[in-house]
């Protein structure tokens, strides 16, 4: 199991990765295990940068979709990642590590008060929702 790094380390890894030419030798591409799973991870907007960085550092291609939803109807990000089954656990762990559950406050009017006095109600906002689908076929053109 690969140990996880701080975002700074990951960033430097990503930068290192950027400096190498994008063309990968055919042998290296071919040696990668085939993509058999499609992971859809819905993460909070605040967490997307880190989540994309870790997944990138694992050598996965991440596609971002802007989305919104959940209880507060907040803006969030859906990440689509194609990955081999062997990397699934690692990817889920990485998302788990960087997508925190947090408490947010929503103002609700105080009940029974003559004036609408806003009351801060704490709401736990979920970390991430991950769906994994089996892929019949994966192609890169």
């Amino acid at each position: 199991m690969q140990e996880f790094h701080s975002p700074e380390e990951i960033r430097s890894q990503v930068r290192e990765g950027d400096s190498t030419p994008p063309t990968q030798p055919a042998g290296e591409e071919g040696s990668r295990p085939p993509v058999r799973m499609l992971m859809l991870a819905i993460v909070q907007y605040q967490d997307q940068k880190k989540a994309v960085q870790v997944l990138d550092s694992m050598g996965l291609t991440v596609i971002r979709l802007a989305s919104s939803g959940a209880f507060l109807g907040r803006r969030n990000v859906t990440l689509m990642v194609g990955l081999p089954p062997e990397q699934l656990e690692e990817a889920v762990k990485a998302i788990h590590q960087y997508c925190h559950q947090r408490v947010e406050y929503v103002s609700t009017p105080l009940e029974g008060a003559p004036m609408p006095i806003p009351l801060a109600t704490p709401i736990t906002v979920g970390g991430a929702t991950v769906f994994t689908l089996e892929v019949d076929r994966f192609e890169e053109l």
């Binding site: 994008p22 499609l38 089996e134 076929r137 994966f138 192609e139």
Partner: protein
């Protein structure tokens, strides 16, 4: 029934969508980013019958242009089995 998720470059979106529609495939486009140097890309969701998957992929293949930069891909395709499909 299968769902094809095709991630293509924005510049190819128009021609691919048009071609799919003329070949009577139904396409839903989602704007997305990532992959190809984190630039804008289009994600197409296409619902197709099992036996038409190859035809749909062929249409996508024919209508994507190869990028100038080496190392970038024309398209990424996922074919996913669909448990239930209804069109209302």
């Amino acid at each position: 029934m299968k769902m094809i998720i095709a991630i293509i470059r924005d510049s190819d979106n128009e021609s691919v969508s048009q071609a799919l529609v003329t070949n009577s495939f139904r396409v839903t486009r989602i704007a997305s980013t990532g992959g190809f140097l984190r630039r804008g890309s289009s994600t197409l969701m296409i619902g197709v019958e099992d036996e038409k998957v190859d035809a749909a992929i062929q249409v996508i293949k024919e209508n994507t242009t190869s990028p100038e930069e080496s190392g970038t891909k024309r398209a990424t395709l996922f074919v996913i089995p669909v448990e239930h499909y209804t069109q209302v």
